[in-house]
């Protein structure tokens, strides 16, 4: 297998293939940075134009777009708290406070380096471990996936929120929103109030933009300032190469987040958002100063960005080896393979090794190119957005919000829905309800419900199916640890304080 991997390298290093990756990465960064455009959409638009190209040129552009867009999403997340892609939500938790403190440039540098490292790790795993790792997914049936979702939700609520009551309310609200629409198993409409637009549920971008982008836009216009000089004058846009040595202390976060991202990427249906959330949360849990997280901790940006890029190549593992696309982007990429006569599945590695392994090399090169292309573009160009006067910036965000939401389905209803979520988000923020649990609830709620009901169907209504496998029991154990640890820590701290005279 590894001989075929090396055999594929010379062709990938051809100028046309390398240029395709460069163009892909640049386009991906721009696409990711613009709310409303996604990697899935950009690749879908690209596919018809690749008919006449060689398969490796087409796949190189797709790999570049995918990697570039995952990083590009962090640019508006850091500067404006508008996640360019859903996977960049967790980046905004610390990236935006960093920008407010005048460290937006550094946040973007951390984001680009972490994205590149996550992408490199993921590409290496894709190249070396694709077939054996694909077998790991077989250990995860509906019951195990349900517990993974419960683990994700419980950890974020108990570890993120200073106020557990409000954290739980936020998560319950998020899960409830995820349930709106036709029930995928029974087909029964839930809380659609007769609106056809709600049958498919509420798109995550609609909720994200409403909760995360509108309140800061209102905030920018509410404060009677001409220019946000504090952010602009202290914006660090120095060389990325001089900033890298200072980031080396994040190596543990990079390693942990890469592993989480790769693992989540392999799981069908999970995606970069979940990877970024779980990774951010785990990094915070492991941190010696968890209270700083959410207020501008650079490692928070590193954790989220490493994980959401580590998800990219690994999401292709089940797609290439089993023909099962785990994410929307992977599905579109499979379409790209099919139009070039390449049938995904185990036989692909035998029938077209030079293309499938060449594609893997392209993922690796795209990740490396991120530092060179993303580093200079992001920090020296996009970061200047913070120099705009606040009223202009507020007005532009309002227009971007409109574009981002309208372009999902091309209908005004989504815009009205976003305005509604914007009002809810504004009041939640003012009343100190944490917003991340809402998003995680939306991402994991329906996912958990579907897998729970699927597991119960497989077990013919017997609830013990949920804890009948060792994998399930391990995840349940981890969930209990995550829930009980903060409570036990509090108790221990109280006892210590009581003992001290």
């Amino acid at each position: 297998m590894y001989g075929a991997l090396l055999d594929a390298l010379p062709e990938v290093l051809g100028w046309a293939n390398l240029l395709a990756v460069v163009v892909g990465v640049l386009s991906g960064i721009c696409v990711g940075a613009l709310p409303g455009l996604s990697a899935t959409m950009a690749i879908s638009v690209l596919i018809p134009f690749t008919f006449g190209m060689s398969p490796l040129v087409a796949l190189g552009m797709m790999a570049g777009i995918y990697n570039g867009a995952m990083y590009g999403g962090s640019i508006p997340a850091v500067l404006l708290r508008i996640p360019g892609t859903p996977a960049a939500v967790a980046t905004s938790f610390d990236g935006y406070p960093m920008a407010q403190k005048g460290r937006g440039g550094y946040a973007l540098q951390v984001a680009v380096v972490s994205s590149a490292l996550g992408g490199i790790a993921s590409a290496i795993v894709l190249m070396l471990l694709a077939p054996p790792l694909a077998k790991v997914t077989l250990l995860f049936g509906p019951a195990e996936i349900f517990w993974v979702a419960v683990f994700g939700m419980s950890s974020i609520v108990f570890l993120l929120s200073g106020d557990i009551v409000k954290g739980l309310m936020s998560a319950a609200f998020g899960v409830f929103v995820s349930l709106i629409g036709a029930d995928t198993i029974s087909g029964y409409d839930r809380f659609t109030f007769g609106r056809l637009e709600l049958l498919d549920g509420i798109n995550i971008i609609v909720l994200l933009v409403g909760l995360y982008a509108l309140p800061p836009a209102v905030g920018l216009l509410e404060e009677p300032k001409d220019i946000d000089a504090s952010n602009a004058t202290r914006l660090s846009t120095g060389s990325i190469w001089s900033a890298i040595p200072g980031m080396l202390g994040y190596w543990k976060t990079w390693l942990r987040s890469a592993i989480i991202g790769i693992f989540v990427g392999i799981l069908p249906g999970a995606g970069g958002s979940m990877a970024a959330f779980l990774s951010w949360n785990e990094a915070r849990r492991a941190s010696s100063n968890p209270d700083e997280w959410g207020h501008g901790e650079p490692e928070g940006v590193a954790a989220a960005e490493t994980a959401n890029n580590a998800d990219t190549a690994s999401a292709m593992i089940p797609a290439l080896t089993l023909g099962i696309p785990g994410t929307a982007v992977a599905a579109v990429m499979l379409g790209g393979l099919l139009i070039h006569g390449l049938q995904p599945g185990p036989m692909l590695f035998r029938s077209n090794p030079e293309i499938v392994f060449g594609f893997m090399w392209q993922f690796l090169f795209a990740a490396i190119l991120l530092i060179f292309l993303g580093g200079s573009i992001a920090t020296n160009s996009f970061a200047q957005v913070l120099r705009l006067p606040r009223p202009i910036l507020g007005a532009i965000i309002i227009a971007l919000v409109f574009i981002g939401v309208y372009s999902i389905n091309g209908r005004m209803f989504d815009v009205y829905l976003t305005l509604g979520f914007g009002v809810i988000g504004y009041f939640m923020e003012k009343l100190k309800f944490p917003l991340p649990p809402v998003v995680l609830g939306l991402i994991l709620g329906k996912f958990a419900e579907e897998n729970l009901r699927l597991a119960l169907r497989i077990g013919r209504g017997d609830w013990s199916v949920l804890w009948s496998s060792t994998t399930s029991l391990i995840i349940i154990g981890l969930t209990l640890v995550v829930v009980l640890m903060p409570i036990l820590r509090q108790q221990v701290a109280k006892r210590r304080a009581a003992r001290q005279p």
Binding site: V165, F173, F191, V218, F402, K430
Partner: protein
């Protein structure tokens, strides 16, 4: 002290609103098949219980005059001004089209909220609207609400 007596704690108001909404939605969930309604009931029930906890906590805090109360609005007038601007912009987009509305909204909102330099305003508007038109209309073929003169 007077401040505490005249205005209820915002958490108390939020709790009551959440309970009312949850009860109404629960009535709707009651008509659904059992498995379809399982998670909605669980979430709405959780919201009601947690809201009650929040209300009790707010009442206890209200009883303590030393506890600080969060302010919901930085500036009430400006908040409603921004809401009105966003509402008008969305309505205008539906009526007269995206590019026309945006070309009016950016300078108008910036002017109304304190930035009153005509040249930078015109430049920012032209760059933004032109850039969006280039990317979305020319390159990506992504349609935004059509202009009134092109319908």
């Amino acid at each position: 002290m007077k401040h505490h007596l005249t205005r209820p704690h915002p958490d108390l108001i939020a709790g009551v609103v959440v309970i009312l909404a949850s009860v109404l939605l629960m009535l709707r969930a009651g008509t659904m098949p059992a498995m379809t309604a399982l998670l909605p009931f669980a979430m709405l029930g959780a919201l009601i219980v947690l809201s009650l906890v929040m209300i009790v906590r707010a009442l206890m805090r209200d009883a303590d005059p030393e506890t600080a109360r969060p302010d919901v609005f930085d500036s009430r007038n400006r908040f409603f001004g921004v809401c009105a601007a966003i509402g008008l912009y969305v309505a205008a987009v539906a009526l007269i089209g995206f590019y026309t509305s945006t070309a009016i909204m950016i300078p108008a909102v910036s002017w109304a909220f304190g930035f009153r330099k005509p040249v930078p305003l015109a430049l920012a508007t032209a760059i933004f609207v032109g850039g969006i038109a280039l990317i979305f209309h020319v390159l990506m073929g992504q349609d935004l609400p059509a202009e009134f003169f092109a319908r």
